[in-house]
């Protein structure tokens, strides 16, 4: 018994004053993912990687906006989204105070992105920013000016129409030169 009291004396106070003073977490703490709307290109990589479906990237009902949505209530702080995001739009932060007051909608974060409609079928298929991002990547890569001009067009065609075009090219025997 006495020995324990000696130990108490030796170590003194060991508690933190939190919440009256900030509590510091480790450098690589896996806290609440922080989203930077301006960087997000709507590629949906995070939505696919997220094991608990906390992130969804979907067209809204009117089909005119691509909605990026994050539900913190579902998040398990695994960091997969952080890993796959090509632009660093989502990063795990040091935030750990996640409680909300009776209002679960406070756990939800949304981003609305402009959609790109297909130049062939006119249906929306991706975010404008993604098209721009792909184009920028191509411009930085070592491709000919010609190809870049072409890219401007085919980046705006949806995968379905692209597929159909390829099939019809094949079946009609049309030859396409790829530089």
């Amino acid at each position: 018994m006495m020995k324990l009291l000696d130990i108490s004396k030796k170590y003194g106070d060991t508690t933190h004053k939190y919440p009256f003073e900030p509590y510091h977490v480790a450098d690589n703490f896996r806290g609440k993912p922080a989203y930077i709307f301006d960087l997000c290109i709507g590629c949906a990589a995070c939505g696919i990687a997220c094991p608990s479906n906390a992130i969804t990237v979907q067209l809204n009902a009117e089909q005119n906006k691509l909605i990026w949505e994050f539900d913190c209530g579902r998040c398990i702080f695994c960091g997969r989204c952080d890993e796959v995001c090509p632009t660093g739009a989502i990063r795990l932060s040091e935030e750990f105070e996640l409680a909300v007051k009776f209002d679960k909608s406070a756990l939800i974060q949304r981003g609305e992105l402009e959609v790109q409609c297909c130049t062939e079928c006119k249906k929306p298929f991706t975010a404008k920013r993604l098209v721009q991002y792909s184009f920028d990547c191509l411009s930085k890569a070592n491709v000919s000016q010609n190809r870049l001009e072409e890219a401007k067009d085919y980046l705006r065609v949806c995968p379905t129409c692209k597929k159909n075009a390829t099939v019809s090219n094949f079946t009609t025997g049309k030859e396409v030169v790829i530089e």
Binding site: M1, K3, L4, L5, D6, I7, S8, Y11, T14, V25, A26, N28, F29, R30, P51, S52, I76, F77, C78, G79, R80, E83, L92
Partner: protein
């Protein structure tokens, strides 16, 4: 090859229809239905096996039958010096049998090998497979008001989202507790909720005066149907994270066991650095888990001072986890093929400092606790787990090591980096609470040394191999990890695409519960909470207790406070006005 000697011996005993090898140390022998009990008994008692897990499986779409897999860890009975299988012969032998969907019955193994009792009860709940001759046919997993003929894990039974209507509480069928014969037996229910961890479990203690003469319990109030969920909608990437949430304390061990069983099924070897880091994280988990348990074992007996100090030290282990994984409790770094997060040199350096602190301070507090005569009186001679009982029920972890049996998966079936690491298995004789806590203390020390060795020896390799792999449907394999409470055994049969066909997750405590009944016997109810605690099932205090004196038909409801006080002070028995 490993396992061959066991298969050969088994072949001389019963007819072995087919032998298949899953992994270098895992073999399955198919036997006829009627030979099942003898085959399992022979391997268990004559060849020195322990029951690791048993998997019922609905294979009607594969071979038009249900199947049972009894997995035995061949390591020797370990009841006396030398009663052990040679280190390089240790392996897992699975006895498999097929059951026709027309009869749905199979001969029970439990009368010959008591360790099977829970598994066979669960096989009925989940698959409707009837064990002929099973002495205890009550429900185990499903709640009492679950519909009678709905066996959830059958492939055609139900959608995983289906929830049958609940019955009003007064309509709920009564659960039959196994009551001992005799007059003057007082029936003390402990539960339905344990407050330290808010976990539900209902214990019935049958007492004569203050002495417990027998006990029975009803658990699984929190069954979450994870196996069904994983089968239906998860891929392997998601499963690792789900498995990590099986347990609130030793989740990481589940995550590795789960992912490793999928890796083993496709024979995927992960890089050495990933192996080492998996070991480091699981040992950090052991640090915080054992500190929690030793702390609680002090708290239940009223020693708050020691409890607080142990939790103060535990905070260092939580910090350590946060430092190297980014999370205090869920480490979230296991993925198929390796890990998703490496450790930096700075982190390793800081970790070593924290380890020094933990090591020194644990010794200090443990010394003080050992000096406390009052504390020792409460721990010594209480809740004895007899060596033979431990052997019969295949107990695991500190529970069995406290009974003088040298059983530790890290030593018996070294996995990952444990092939390189040196450590002593903590074995203590006695079988009482004191022995189990001492095992935990010794393991704290060895964990610190294991982590240090890993830091020192881990090579600079990649931490992940390209997890592109071809799943082979119907392939299965077993993975085992020594969690703080004993070995967690996961078994995965792969399905098509990225899905599992069957996932069986057996947590350590599953093997420890059936023998708890024997640990209760002969102790006073003041020690009941302590005994449950020393098993380390994550909870140890009592919420509400009803006491019934069978002879005088008197009954009394005790509050949590009453019983807690009694177990701390051992004064003012709450039962005295019933006598």
């Amino acid at each position: 090859m490993k396992c061959d000697i066991f298969i050969e011996a088994l072949g001389q005993r019963v007819k072995v229809l087919e032998v298949t090898r899953q992994y270098e140390d895992q073999v399955t022998a198919l036997v006829e239905l009627n030979d099942l009990p003898e085959a399992v008994r022979f391997l268990y008692y004559d060849m020195g096996g322990y029951l690791s897990t048993m998997i019922p499986n609905d294979e009607r779409e594969i071979n038009k039958h249900f199947a049972l897999y009894y997995v035995l860890s061949m390591e020797g009975g370990k009841m006396f010096e030398g009663d052990e299988v040679a280190q390089d012969e240790k392996c897992f032998v699975t006895v498999k049998t097929l059951i026709s969907p027309d009869t749905l019955t199979y001969p029970s193994v439990t009368p010959k090998v008591p360790a099977c009792v829970w598994y066979e009860r669960e096989a009925y709940d989940m698959f409707g497979l009837i064990a002929e001759g099973l002495p205890d046919k009550r429900r185990l997993v499903l709640s009492d008001d679950w519909p009678d003929n709905l066996h959830p894990l059958r492939k055609d039974a139900m959608d995983y989202r289906y929830r049958p209507d609940m019955k009003e509480h007064y309509m709920e069928p009564e659960f039959d507790f196994l009551r001992p014969e005799g007059s003057g037996v007082i029936d003390v229910p402990l539960g339905p909720l344990h407050i330290t961890a808010d976990e539900p479990g209902h214990f019935r203690l049958f007492c004569d005066g203050d002495t417990i003469i027998d006990a029975d319990y009803r658990l699984f109030y929190q069954h979450r149907g994870m196996e069904k969920l994983a089968e239906n909608r998860m891929n392997y990437d998601q499963m690792g994270y789900l498995a990590e949430r099986v347990c609130g304390i030793c989740g990481y061990a589940h995550a590795i066991a789960c992912i490793e069983s999928a890796e083993k099924a496709i024979n995927l070897e992960i890089p050495a650095r990933a192996q080492a880091i998996r070991i480091i994280c699981s040992e950090i988990e052991r640090l915080h888990s054992h500190l929690l348990n030793i702390g609680l074992a002090c708290e239940v007996t009223g020693n708050y001072n020691a409890f607080m100090h142990i939790f103060r030290i535990r905070e260092y282990s939580m910090k350590l986890a946060e430092l190297v994984t980014g999370g205090r409790k869920t480490y979230g770094n296991v993925v198929m093929g390796g890990l998703r997060r490496d450790m930096t040199g700075v982190e390793i350096k800081e970790s070593l400092q924290i380890l020094n602190i933990i090591e020194a301070q644990v010794d200090e507090v443990w010394d003080a606790v050992m000096d406390d005569k009052r504390q020792m009186r409460r721990w010594k001679g209480v809740g004895i787990l007899d060596k033979q009982v431990a052997r019969d029920f295949s107990a695991v972890g500190p529970n069995i090591r406290g009974s003088g049996i040298k059983r530790d998966t890290r030593y018996d079936h070294p996995y990952d980096f444990f092939k390189q690491v040196k450590f002593d298995v903590a074995v203590v004789e006695g079988g009482d609470v004191f022995a189990r806590e001492t095992v935990r203390y010794l393991e704290l020390k060895s964990s610190v040394s294991i982590i240090r060795q890993c830091f020192e020896m881990m090579p600079q390799t990649a931490i992940i191999v390209d997890p592109k792999f071809h799943v082979k449907p119907e392939n299965y394999a077993l993975a085992y990890v020594e969690a703080p409470r004993g070995d967690n055994v996961h078994w995965i049969m792969q399905g098509s695409a990225q899905k599992v066909f069957r996932w069986r997750c057996r947590a350590a405590t599953y093997n420890n519960w059936p023998s708890l009944r024997f640990q209760f016997r002969g102790n006073t109810i003041a020690d009941a909470a302590l005994i449950v605690c020393s098993l380390d099932p994550c909870y140890s205090c009592t919420e509400r207790v009803t006491v019934v004196d069978v002879k005088s038909k008197k009954s009394k409801i005790l509050t949590n406070k009453d019983l807690k006080n009694f177990s701390r002070t051992q004064k003012n028995s709450p039962l005295k006005d019933l006598r």
